[in-house]
């Protein structure tokens, strides 16, 4: 077990190192940096000024040197400076993380608490009308773009209350809390609850066919006990994987949803930084997302061993 964990951690480092190289050089494939953009907008400017600015930002150095500087800084907790605000990148990124984390946590909660029960119902009543309806609904969940769902929610807000629910950094009443955090996370959770439901359903169907389920019925266990105690407990593993990986991949849905609801979180910040070619922000944010994904994957694997005593990582 210990050897396995060490090996996994080493592989995680290799992956993160790979991502840092891919992101860094990908962002610099195209000619044209922030200095070009600023100076193009300003019209004719002294080339010496331009060279000065490039030297100040450190982008006159060879790419390899720039890369090593970035990685060296990262290891010391120095993420460089934002081109746009000229503040330390860390100061720009850190305060935005809790907002996005709250949204992601809520979305995950909604997704599991809606998706798992519906998946169980759909599997238990396989082939019935309710199963049919739930399957179509879940497929529609995978088909609606979350930004459109967000816009529809805004539209409902206009129709019901006459105004758009705006983001409030310090929600006081319950209503404000609801519109600030619950509405955007519901828009994101719709899709992932559909995914959770589908996985729960197919995993449950697999388990319900097993011999021990028949045994449980034969010894007189109630339907509820069979479905939830015997079946769901064994069917939950693949669901954990999906929910765990979704936790990290929710960021995709959050990017568009934060844009729709005007939430000043980390996901929307990534889009803004990309638009501005604010590379120090973009590369650090992408690294941050990659770290979250890699840790989520690792946690899911470890949870497997905790939840299923049959799984013991040797090797």
């Amino acid at each position: 077990m210990f050897a396995y964990i060490v090996r996994r951690l080493a592989l995680m480092l290799v992956t993160l190192f790979g991502i840092s190289i891919v992101i860094f050089f990908l962002l610099r494939v195209l000619p044209g940096n922030i200095v070009d953009i600023l100076f193009d907008a300003a019209g004719f400017v002294d080339p010496a000024d331009k060279a000065n600015l490039e030297r100040d930002l450190g982008i006159d150095q060879p790419l390899v040197v720039q890369y090593l500087r970035w990685i060296g800084g990262l290891l010391h907790g120095d993420l460089g400076y934002s081109y746009v605000s000229e503040k330390p990148a860390l100061e720009e990124i850190l305060p935005r993380i809790p907002i996005t984390a709250r949204l992601a946590g809520l979305a995950l909660l909604f997704s599991a608490s809606i998706g798992i029960p519906l998946g169980v119902i759909s599997a238990v009543y396989q082939g019935s009308r309710i199963d049919y309806i739930l399957r179509v609904v879940s497929l529609s969940g995978l088909s609606l773009p979350s930004f459109w769902l967000g816009l529809l929610i805004l539209m409902a807000g206009v129709a019901l209350f006459g105004n758009i629910p705006i983001f409030n950094p310090n929600p006081k009443t319950l209503g404000e809390m609801f519109s600030t955090y619950c509405l955007p996370s519901l828009a994101v959770a719709f899709r992932s609850s559909a995914l959770t439901m589908r996985i729960t359903r197919s995993s449950m169907l697999e388990v319900l066919r097993q011999d021990y389920i028949r045994t449980a019925r034969a010894k007189g266990a109630s339907e509820a006990s069979v479905n939830f105690h015997h079946a769901l407990q064994n069917a939950i593993l693949p669901v954990i994987t999906v929910v765990g990986i979704e936790a990290a991949f929710l960021i995709g849905g959050l990017i568009v949803t934060e844009t729709v609801f005007n939430v000043p979180g980390v996901a929307r910040f990534l889009v803004e930084a990309i638009r501005w070619r604010d590379y120090p922000i973009v590369q650090n944010l992408v690294m941050f997302i990659a770290v979250v994904v890699v840790i989520a994957n690792f946690t899911v694997d470890m949870l497997y061993a905790v939840f299923d005593p049959r799984i013991r990582y040797t090797d």
């Binding site: 592989l11 290799v14 992956t15 993160l16 790979g18 991502i19 891919v22 992101i23 990908l26 962002l27 494939v29 195209l30 179509v136 497929l139 529609s140 995978l142 088909s143 609606l144 773009p145 930004f147 459109w148 816009l151 529809l152 805004l154 539209m155 206009v158 758009i164 359903r201 197919s202 169907l205 990290a248 991949f249 960021i251 995709g252 990017i255 568009v256 844009t259 729709v260 005007n262 990534l270 889009v271 990309i274 638009r275 070619r277 973009v282 992408v286 997302i289 990659a290 994904v293 890699v294 994957n297």
Partner: protein, 297 residues
Amino acid sequence: MATVNYDIELERAGAKAPHGWRRLAFYARRYILGTVGLAILAVLVLTALFADLIARYDPLSIDSAHALAHPSVQHWMGTDSFGRDVLSRIIHGARISLAVGIGSTALGSMIGVIIGLTSGYLAGWVDLVFQRVTDILQSLPLLVLALVMTAALGASLPNVIIAIAIPLIPIVARVIRANTLALREQPFVEAAKSIGMSETRIALRHVLPNTLAPLIVLATAQLGSTILTEASLSFLGLGIPEPYPSWGRMLSESAAEYVRTAPWLVIFPGIAISASVFGTNLFGDALRDILDPRQRS
């Protein structure tokens, strides 16, 4: 992996329809949702092909006298802030959605197949390197990778196709590699080796055709998500550039503001995206049930 014998499967299911149209009719009856999906896809393809004939207005022509017109007999879905007919833009937008959907799915699958096949077939250090590369690509959410790619390449139709294709590569490569590994141990591969067939020929003639069914299933499943990703990229203003009528782009034009003043600008493009993706998903699910019985739900 034994290939599925459809004739036997069909007979078991009680179909007395050995050939042609009657067999198709049987499938259509059995997979009603899949048929609905196929119908939606057909509408989408026909709209894209005959956009010039169907659309009553030029999707790009600006008519500021009729800006933000409500839906009416002249403009069934109203007009946008430039006075462009929304319905005509949606009709032409089908081309972009399909081009990106099919283009990036095909490109991503093609590269994924090549990588998966060589990786699974050659094994050794080639496999090891490819495995690490897929690990790296899969550590970023699809939309994040596509965003960075479009930012790096610049916004244009071919670049959006490439940007969305790249996150697909590891997904396809994984499945094909696993399949290839299993197939390599099959007796028919051994037999081909024993009669002196070259490795390349075995890979192309014997292994590849047997991975086609899972590939088709996977590619159809990805088609919907590529259409969604294009819509998201364009919505964020980093996908298909103006003035081309991408559905996602139509929603981005200060959509939150129009929620109050011009809801038709928000509702109709969203329906177009959702319906297309819903159709591909319905069809993809049915196709998986037919081609890959082991995953049958």
